[in-house]
């Protein structure tokens, strides 16, 4: 393909803060990369994009994926290029992943650490590959930003690095996994790789394109029209592909899939992709309705609770002395079901052992923290998918969805799943649902696993790195930073700022019953930061010397409410009263379109017994045997909702935005896009 055709597409911006709009072909010659500011209107016919007029955050809006896009390497929306390259290069160590798991682990967490090591290894190789590429692409930092969407199409990647190194000589046909034949100017080695990789890659790509097309969905009518058009075009392309091998003519600006034409698997993919695209795009209204989350289970609805109980595999006993206000939330007696479940470990058929293990870790509290829980869950699912076999006379799509559903309900019984986990589950389910029917079982499994891998690395780990990059600019010498509890993102920010040699002090505010702040405090001290430690009641005492408040979040709801560890609202309120900026650090995958005004309608209840005995204070035992006192209840809330007016800024992987922009991100970028 001639460079001229591709030229408008590779609108690349030398300043990392501005995001490119449009997408990039791998072979984009470097000199083109300097070709002026991004111009959304010039993006290719297929893609164009909502004008990136969001001045608040540097945001790049990826275009819908096209069939041709399998061939093209995609720019990820979230990442500024230099950062990306760097973080990827640095990511090989795998330490980034370990950040999500608190240092002191009980023996039961072994599993998670083994996960992390395994994961780290996988990640390492993943990052290494990218790292190489990033280095090569340095001469044009832009290319570095235009990363493959899936981290697994090695071939494409190699190609890019080769192309980039060659100074644009590789501007020819991008490699595609869809065909080994059509790859023109690639080395043999790459062909080898490609072959090895082909099984997984094609499925990924097929799916990618469908999601890509879906991304446009929440847009306005124009977008819908475009989507329709696209799908028609895709259908046409598919038909063409079936009919004749090469539609490589690619007259239109959107490179036809046909370029990559040839063997049978590809034809399948194209066809399926086309049909899927239709499914995804055409009935957005219906889709949307369907996507409205089901009402949450209300536990004061007796009949439904009974029904749920019969299904449940965790035998939970209702706690006594319930707090009247929270009847609608589940509260169980803790401590009794763990040994019971442990004993059942080996004869529990329906739940995969890894999932089971993770469930037990949730139950025992060994894994906590939104990111850690989400990663553990996804990895368990990955394991489970790996070991999954489609039972005879069933289809993978349906059966696996049901399977995942049962795992989720098991995990939910162990501990109510968080919003971020819910988002990840929805991502996974949508991925399963979009698997082409024709794809073979092993391919489907590989593609799902790589999807999960990618979700973890891009939506969580890389998102954190971007957040760190952004937030660190808000730390100045001499600052006194206050943080509450233990947030992995905040911890990374503090450590990174310290590495950069900034001089600041950290105030760690903690609260009972979990005292997670002590974990953070220990890790900060080990790295040599100057810390102060206090409890939440003293927050107004300490606040007058604080210059910034950094908070983590479990979720950010679309009315700007920050749903986070209980106490966050208090800290934010006091900071607001003292006119101290409150900066909330939250990855975009935790955003949710739900709204919430108080902390009562939806929350999680922890073990009330923890309230009664104060750790390390044997003298405080007035509440021993509280359960036998008729009028006494103990309430252990887990989350609270911080009103958006207490929040000065939310740092997310899309940039730094005010809380009022959260619905914009949720809406404009669409759930599909936010979650991948």
């Amino acid at each position: 393909m001639d460079p001229s055709r591709r030229a408008p597409r590779s609108a690349i911006d030398p300043v990392p803060k501005f995001r490119q709009v449009g997408f990039f072909t791998p072979g984009a010659p470097p000199e083109r990369s300097q070709s002026g500011p991004p111009d959304p209107t010039h993006s290719p016919p297929v893609s164009d994009v909502s004008p990136s007029a969001n001045s608040l955050s540097p945001v790049m809006i990826p275009p819908p994926r096209h069939l041709s896009d399998n061939l093209a390497i995609h720019a990820r929306p979230t990442l500024a290029s230099p950062l990306r390259a760097e973080s990827l290069a640095a990511g090989g160590g795998g330490s980034s992943f370990g950040d999500f798991f608190p240092a002191p682990m009980s023996p039961a967490t072994q599993a998670s650490s083994s996960y992390s090591s395994r994961m780290a290894a996988g990640e390492g190789s993943f990052f290494d590959r990218h790292g190489v590429r990033g280095d090569k692409g340095n001469n044009n930092g832009k290319v570095a930003s235009s990363f493959p969407r899936g981290g697994f199409d090695l071939t494409a990647m190699k190609k890019v690095s080769g192309g980039g190194g060659g100074g644009g000589s590789g501007a020819g046909v991008p490699a595609s996994e869809l065909t080994t034949v059509s790859v023109v100017n690639d080395s043999l080695a790459i062909h080898e790789k490609e072959k090895a990789n082909r099984g997984g890659g094609s499925a990924v790509e097929a799916k990618d394109q469908s999601t890509g097309s879906k991304q446009q969905k929440p847009k306005t009518t124009k977008a819908e029209r475009r989507a329709l058009q696209e799908s028609q075009r895709a259908a046409k392309a598919a038909a063409k592909a079936e009919g004749n091998k090469a539609s490589g003519t690619a007259t239109s600006a959107n490179a036809k899939p046909a370029k990559a034409v040839k063997p049978t698997p590809k034809v399948d993919n194209a066809a399926v992709a086309a049909s899927e695209k239709k499914g995804g795009d055409c009935p957005p209204e219906k889709d949307r309705k369907k996507d409205v989350p089901q009402p949450r289970m209300q536990y004061d609805d007796k009949s439904r609770v009974e029904k749920a109980k019969r299904r449940a595999m965790v035998k939970q006993t209702e706690a006594r002395n319930r707090v009247e206000l929270f009847r609608h939330l589940p509260q169980y007696e803790h401590g009794s079901q763990l040994p019971d479940l442990e004993s059942k470990f080996f004869h529990l058929d329906p739940v995969h052992p890894t999932v089971y293990k993770v469930g037990l870790q949730y139950l025992s509290g060994d894994i906590c923290g939104a990111n850690a829980r989400c990663i553990a869950m996804l990895q368990a699912f990955q394991e489970a998918i790996k070991d999954y076999r489609v039972p005879p006379e069933k289809t993978l799509v349906r059966d696996l969805t049901a399977k995942i559903g049962s795992y989720v309900s098991f995990l939910n019984e162990c501990r109510p799943i968080s919003i971020s986990m819910g988002n990840a589950i929805r991502f996974l389910k949508s991925r399963i649902a979009k698997l082409p029917l024709t794809v073979s079982e092993s391919e489907a499994k590989v593609s799902l696993q790589s999807d999960i891998e990618r979700f973890i690395s891009e939506k969580i780990i890389l998102a954190n790195k971007v957040i760190v990059k952004h937030a660190v600019t808000k730390i100045r010498d001499g600052d006194v930073l206050l943080t509450y509890g233990s947030s992995s993102a905040v911890e990374m920010i503090l450590l990174h700022a310290h590495e950069l040699g900034k001089q600041f002090r950290v105030v760690v505010v903690d609260s009972r019953p979990k005292l997670r702040g002590q974990i953070l405090l220990r890790r900060l001290l080990e790295k040599g930061l100057n810390c102060e430690y206090t409890h939440i009641n003293a927050v107004s005492y300490i606040m007058h010397e604080v210059t910034r408040v950094f908070l983590g979040a479990s979720s950010v709801l679309s009315n700007g409410t920050v749903y986070s560890r209980v106490g966050t609202a208090c800290v934010a309120m006091v900071a607001h009263e003292f006119r101290v900026p409150v900066i909330v650090c939250c990855e975009a995958y935790k955003f949710h379109e739900r709204v919430q005004l108080d902390s009562i309608c939806s929350n999680e209840l922890g073990d009330p017994d923890i309230i009664s005995n104060v750790r390390g204070r044997e003298g405080v035992n007035y509440l021993d045997g509280w359960a036998n006192v008729e009028n006494l209840q103990l309430l252990n809330l887990i989350y609270d909702a911080t009103p958006s007016d207490y929040v000065s800024m939310i740092v997310t992987d899309y940039g730094m935005v005010p809380p009022t922009s959260v619905p914009v991100i949720v809406r404009e970028y669409g759930r599909e896009q936010v979650w991948i």
Binding site: V323, E324, L325, V507, D510, S511, R512, P513, Q518, L521, R522, L525, E526, K527, G528, N530, C531, E532, Y533, T534, H535, I536, N537, A538, V539, S540, Y541, I542, H544, V566, G567, A569, C570, M573, V574, E577, D598, S599, I600, N603, I611, S612, V614, G616, R617, V620, Y622, L623, W626, V629, E630, N631, L632, Q633, L634, L635, N636, L637, D640, A641
Partner: protein, 415 residues
């Protein structure tokens, strides 16, 4: 008076070691100590009041220095000084009256008052306050005749158990001391009964099915809530535990034992729960003259949350907690940092701090008190009734004389 000195030293030591918990106990013990100081003090024939004042002031100075953040000590010292001044004044006017200024004693007030033992002007004033008599124009007008009339009645009527032979110049010294001690006794009585007087007002403030939030533990709050419960009100109480002392657990246990629906929450859940709360009722450590409150740590947070949700924030405070001082930089000056061991065990983090490079330092901040500015307080309930924060300065002026604001001999800050 060596024994008095020993008593004083003992008390000073206790104050220094923070052995005395709670401002009520401190106030009571201070008053008792001052009473014995007064009773032991020899009074010269001339200028007895000055002698007493000096003695009390000398002791008071030591006591205040022993625990400057325990404002109740200073309050009681000032009130004792105020009592001495008032008694002296009343005796002086009585003496003048006795010298021949015959006063018409045909006030109707006089008749009404003669049925109970009339002690002194201060006692009368206190009685007037405790009967919640509003400062009407009539009382203002009658103020002068009253103070003159009282000793007159007692001397002429002879029905006051012979304690006021005020006309007798020889016994006047003993008379002053005696009156002062009586008034101090009254004060002690007031301090120990302030609970009941505050609790009496509970039904006026708590309605059926109310949801009340409190933090930490305060005997006043306990009595207040229980009084409402005894009057057959049924309501719910959320108790925030009040880290790091967790007195809330104790309060919750007591409340539950008395049959109130009680829920213990963590301090961090205050913001989450306050939207469902009708009223916040808490105790205070001291009430400053501007209406600001020195309160157990965490209450500023609660008050802010209450303000956010327009929940009334009510402070219960006995009159011994009213402090005539104004807070300046209250977070720092009127506070006290307690032992870190309440937050972290000894040596818990020593392993990650002893790096020779000196990098990584850890400070534990464990303050005892919070300052709640007057704008966050909806109402004060004292033993004399409910008051606005903006009225506190006037209430306080009733109890203290302006000369005593600075207790120290040198004109530096009083506490």
């Amino acid at each position: 008076m060596p024994d008095v000195q020993a008593l004083v030293n003992d008390f000073v030591n206790q104050l220094k070691k923070r052995k005395i918990e709670g401002s009520q106990a401190t106030a009571k013990q201070t008053a008792e100590l001052l009473r014995s100081v007064i009773s032991q003090q020899r009074v010269p024939h001339t200028n007895q009041a000055a002698a007493l004042i000096n003695a009390v002031r000398a002791v008071g100075e030591q006591l205040i220095a022993a625990n400057p953040v325990e404002l109740a000590v200073g309050n009681i010292v000032r009130r004792t000084l105020h009592i001495i001044r008032e008694e002296d004044l009343s005796l002086a006017t009585a003496a003048m009256a006795g010298l021949g200024l015959s006063v018409a004693s045909d006030d109707e007030d006089d008749m009404e008052r003669s049925d109970h033992p009339v002690l002194s002007a201060a006692a009368v004033a206190a009685a007037a306050r405790s009967t919640l008599r509003p400062p009407s124009l009539q009382t203002l007008l009658e103020d002068m005749p009253d103070s003159a009339a009282v000793p007159h009645t007692s001397s002429s009527g002879g029905d006051s158990e012979g304690k006021s032979r005020s006309v007798d110049k020889g016994s006047r010294g003993r008379k002053l001391k005696h009156d002062v001690i009586e008034a101090v006794n009254e004060l002690i009585q007031d301090i120990s009964t302030c609970y009941e007087q505050i609790a009496e007002q509970a039904v006026e403030h708590i309605h059926q099915n109310e949801v009340i939030l409190t933090l930490g533990s305060s005997k006043t709050v306990l009595e207040f809530l229980c009084a409402a419960k005894d009057k057959k009100r049924s309501f719910k109480v959320f108790v925030a535990e009040g880290a790091p002392r967790y007195q809330g657990h104790l309060l919750a246990k007591d409340l539950a034992a008395r049959g109130l629906q009680t829920t213990v929450i963590t301090d961090s859940a205050v913001f989450a729960m306050i939207s469902r709360v009708n009223m916040v009722i808490v105790g205070a450590h001291a009430v400053m003259a501007n209406g600001g409150v020195i309160a157990p740590v965490g209450l500023n947070m609660v008050a802010l949350a209450a303000q956010r949700h327009a929940v009334p924030f009510v402070i219960l405070a006995g009159s011994h907690k009213l402090c005539p001082l104004y807070p300046h930089n209250p977070e720092v000056l009127l506070n006290e940092l307690r032992s870190p061991s309440e937050l972290l065990d000894f040596g818990e983090f020593s392993d990650c701090m002893d790096s020779a490079s000196g990098a990584g330092s850890l400070h534990i901040v464990n303050p005892t008190f919070d300052y709640v500015p007057p704008k966050l307080v909806s109402l004060f309930i004292t033993d004399t009734g409910g008051h606005n924060p903006s009225y506190m300065y006037r209430l306080i002026a009733d109890y203290y004389s302006a000369d005593d604001l600075v207790v120290k001999g040198r004109p530096t800050t009083g506490s």
